[in-house]
């Protein structure tokens, strides 16, 4: 096992280098430079000021030097300073955005699994009944409706017409002066719509997957045996069938982990949530190289770690992988 672990970790090193190289190349291939985006079409900017800005950001150096500088800083976990006019450390910018994004994604993920699994089971158990079809229609409506459109409609209904919920943002003005519980209530009301809509949109995949694995398990011989023995239907489903049907779903959960730091641009823009999606989008639009590369590298690392963990748990479960005998 230790051997396997060491091998896997060593393999991460060339992968990481490859990732930084590709990230760097891709962002520099995009037309336009940060300086360009800040100064283009501005009558007050002369060629000298532009050259001065390029020098300030180190863009006048050859590409391989820029890459070398960036990677040597990165090795010391220094992500550099943003090329936006604020010139703040990239890590600070990411740090202030990441809590809200991860929190929202975690809540939506919990809700997604918490709702999709039961309704998937229900659909499987009541296969081809009105309930099954009703569930299918419900989840596919969620899947098919563009979330931004649904979001706007809900904002209009609950925010403008009924005045039940705030429309955007994550706090009310002055909420920091409220007592703790009231502040939480305020935040909850702000997040209700985004979380509900995000969850609604993501139910289809998982619930249909759950339904089909459940159906597969239910048609197996040992279930028939259990039923033949006279075991109660509830126990057949929840004790015997569910355990086996859940295994592949847990793999799905593993896959969704790296996605937790990525925010949806459209969603965050509509709800004015200051998350990672907006930050990344603005970074790309302004050609803010250090910021974009920083986010990509962090994302890639998380993906690598996620994969590593998934492989390790497989290895734990399956001795054939562990001993490399395929």
């Amino acid at each position: 096992m230790a051997n396997y672990l060491i091998k896997r970790i060593l393999m991460l090193i060339p992968l990481l280098i490859g990732i930084t190289l590709i990230t760097f190349t891709v962002i520099h291939l995009a037309p336009g430079e940060p300086v360009e985006m800040q100064t283009a079409m501005s009558p007050k900017v002369s060629a000298q000021s532009r050259a001065r800005l390029r020098e300030f950001y180190g863009l006048d150096k050859p590409l391989y030097v820029q890459y070398g500088l960036w990677i040597s800083h990165l090795a010391r976990l220094d992500f550099g300073r943003s090329f936006a006019p604020d010139n703040r450390p990239v890590l600070d910018k990411i740090k202030e955005r990441i809590p809200i994004t991860i929190s929202l994604n975690v809540i939506a993920l919990i809700l997604e699994f918490g709702i999709a699994i039961p309704i998937g089971i229900m659909a499987a158990v009541h296969r081809d009944t009105l309930l099954d079809r009703g569930i299918s229609v419900f989840v596919f409506v969620g899947f098919a409706v563009p979330t931004f459109w649904l979001a706007l409609l809900c904002m209009y209904l609950f925010g403008v017409k009924l005045s039940w919920l705030p429309i955007s943002g994550i706090h009310s003005l002055g909420s920091e002066h409220l007592p703790f519980l009231a502040r939480m209530g305020d935040m909850a009301k702000h997040l209700l719509l985004p979380v509900a809509i995000a969850t609604f949109g993501s139910l289809a995949g998982l619930s249909r997957y759950m339904r089909s694995t459940m159906l597969e398990v239910l048609s197996q011989d040992y279930i028939t045996t259990a039923r033949a023995k006279g075991v109660k239907e509830r126990i057949v489903i929840y004790r015997h069938a569910l355990k086996n049907a859940l295994l592949p779903v847990i793999t799905l959960l593993g896959f969704s982990l790296p996605g937790l730091i990525g925010g949806s641009v459209i969603f965050e823009t509509i709800f004015a949530i200051p998350g990672m999606g907006q930050l990344f989008y603005q970074g790309v639009m302004a050609r803010d190289y250090p910021l974009v590369m920083g986010i990509l590298v962090i994302g890639a690392c998380l993906t690598l770690i996620g994969n590593l963990l998934a492989d390790l748990s497989y290895a734990l479960a399956d001795p054939r992988i562990r001993h490399g005998r395929g």
Partner: protein
């Protein structure tokens, strides 16, 4: 906030969501929340980038900075220069020197006195090669600058330079907090200290910037207690926030202004304003291409375009026709330009025939076997420009010109097409500067790569008038130059000037004291008030 704590908070919050009540809180929000009715909340699409004004170029930053800082001079409500931190100024008889007499008793928000040392520092840091600023150009014309005493500041220029005066509208920075420090790493970029009517209070990234009234302001304390910028990146969300009372003020689109805000309820809660914006939209031709080198072709295209139809269709009438690069109503704007080609398809056909074009079989004009066909490029994300291009396409088709439209992402548009001169025609816009100097966009020396005369327009007579206009402080003499320039541009049609859109702000009717003027509505913000 650490991730775990944030998550825990949100989970608690969601549990509580069910029991939270909605309606009373909404009412409170509509009046500035717990801050009371004299807090004004405005919506901003973008987030400020840096609140040290010389380091940023975005409008959100300059909006906030404009309330926190002052310049030596500013434009008043009629767009005339007046003293701000400078009580008065004199231009020396040779037109080369300006002496500013500074206001006494002005204090920085931290209590320090404002003096000529601050002005000198602002000038020096702006021209310092180590400062990454885009605004050094005007100050580089300065030959010498000196603080004569604490309240007198003198600059000398190498040659007379009319835009010089306006360039001292640049926000003055506090020398006592910045001198000897690296300006790019200064905390002032996130929490500025100025002399202006509002004091910076807080900036919550991605959410809002809050300013409070400056009780010591030299013109008297503002009557509003707080001014809040809420960052709302989506314009439909912003509009819903306005209707729900989450913000008090925003700029409307023509559709919102004309079609969605005329209900009695809306008009009771909000006041709508309308005045020409400082910008124009144009169709520019690549004058390096043989087809556009013929002035008759350009004139013919302008004659074939019905600008009124564009204003009606694209702006729903919320704008005016443009004939030149100035804003209607300003002193440099010539109301009647004789040479301006009016909409006249018959004349258009005539001009094209004179230029040697004959009608081909497919309804497209042909000269020397080549069809008269070109592509209009515009940038992505601006629906108005795309619509205008489509209307133009249809009109030009009628006179036998084939037009294609190509929409492109801004960065690749600039780098791959504009900078390399690889375009035929573009549909873009310029902001109209407050000083009428046109050197950067129209002078023949500005046709190099990445320079703003990217269409390649060269006219020695125009060059002479531009230089003459910026070389004198005499408004009458300048006006004469700019009137002539407008005639020449109308004659030559290097651009087809299309329209000047209207700015359409809306403010809650709770706020009184707003006086619309040529400069807009923000000029007397400090005298806006709320009836309690």
């Amino acid at each position: 906030m650490s991730f775990c704590r944030c998550l825990a908070l949100i989970l608690t919050a969601l549990v509580l969501a069910g029991c939270a009540k909605g309606a009373p809180e909404e009412k409170a929000r509509a009046q500035g929340g717990i801050y009371g009715a004299d807090t004004l909340v405005t919506g901003s699409i973008g987030e400020p980038s840096n609140l040290i004004p010389i380091l940023s170029a975005d409008s959100a930053s300059s909006d906030v900075a404009g309330l926190v800082y002052n310049g030596l001079v500013r434009y008043d409500k009629d767009l005339k220069l007046e003293g701000d931190l400078a009580r008065s100024w004199e231009v020396s008889p040779d037109g080369l020197g300006i002496t500013f007499h500074l206001r006494r008793g002005v204090k920085w928000h931290d209590g320090h006195d404002f003096t000529s040392r601050d002005v000198l520092y602002t000038y020096r840091v702006t021209i310092d090669p180590k400062t990454p600023t885009a605004y050094a150009e005007d100050f580089k014309q300065v030959q010498s600058a000196q603080a004569v005493d604490d309240y007198t500041f003198r600059v000398r220029y190498a040659k007379p330079f009319a835009p010089a005066l306006a360039s001292w509208g640049m926000p003055i920075l506090p020398a006592h907090l910045l001198e000897g420090k690296e300006i790019t790493k200064s905390p002032l970029s996130r929490s500025p200290v100025g002399t202006g009517p509002f004091v910076f209070k807080e900036w919550i990234p991605g959410q809002r910037v809050m300013l409070e009234r400056n009780p010591e302001y030299y013109e008297g304390a503002p009557r509003l207690s707080r001014y809040v910028y809420r960052i709302i990146p989506d314009s439909s969300t912003m509009y819903m926030e306005l209707k729900a009372g989450g913000i008090d003020m925003m700029g409307l689109s023509p559709v919102q202004y004309q079609r969605q805000t005329n209900t009695r309820e809306f008009l009771a809660r909000f006041n709508k304003y309308r005045y020409p914006a400082s910008a124009y939209t144009y169709l520019g031709y690549n004058l390096r291409l043989p087809v556009f080198q013929d002035r008759r072709v350009r004139q013919a295209i302008t004659c074939a375009i019905n600008k009124e139809e564009i204003v009606a269709g694209v702006l729903l009438g919320m704008g005016q026709l443009a004939h030149g690069p100035y804003k209607p109503g300003t002193w440099a704007y010539k109301p009647k330009v004789a040479a301006d080609p009016a909409y006249d398809p018959a004349r258009s056909a005539l001009l094209l025939r004179e230029a040697g074009y004959v009608m081909g079989q497919d309804g497209i004009l042909v000269k020397d076997g080549k069809p008269l066909s070109f592509t209009i490029m515009t940038n992505q994300g601006n629906d108005q420009r795309l619509k205008a291009a489509q209307i133009i396409q249809r009109r030009l088709k009628k006179v036998g010109i084939d037009v294609k439209i190509r929409v492109m992402e801004w960065a690749s548009f600039l780098t791959n097409f504009i900078d390399k001169g690889r375009f035929e025609a573009v549909l873009l816009g310029w902001t109209i500067g407050q000083d009428p100097d046109l050197y950067d966009v129209w002078h023949s020396s500005k046709t190099g790569p990445k320079e703003l005369n990217f269409v390649g327009y060269k006219n020695p007579e125009l060059d002479r008038l531009i230089v003459e206009g910026r070389g004198t402080f005499d408004t009458e003499k300048r006006r004469a130059c700019y009137y002539q320039i407008q005639e020449i541009l109308a004659q030559d049609q290097p651009y087809t000037f299309l329209y000047v859109p209207d700015a359409l702000p809306v403010v809650t009717s709770r706020v009184k004291g707003i006086e619309p003027a040529p400069a807009g509505i923000m000029h007397n913000l400090i005298r806006w008030y709320v009836n309690q």
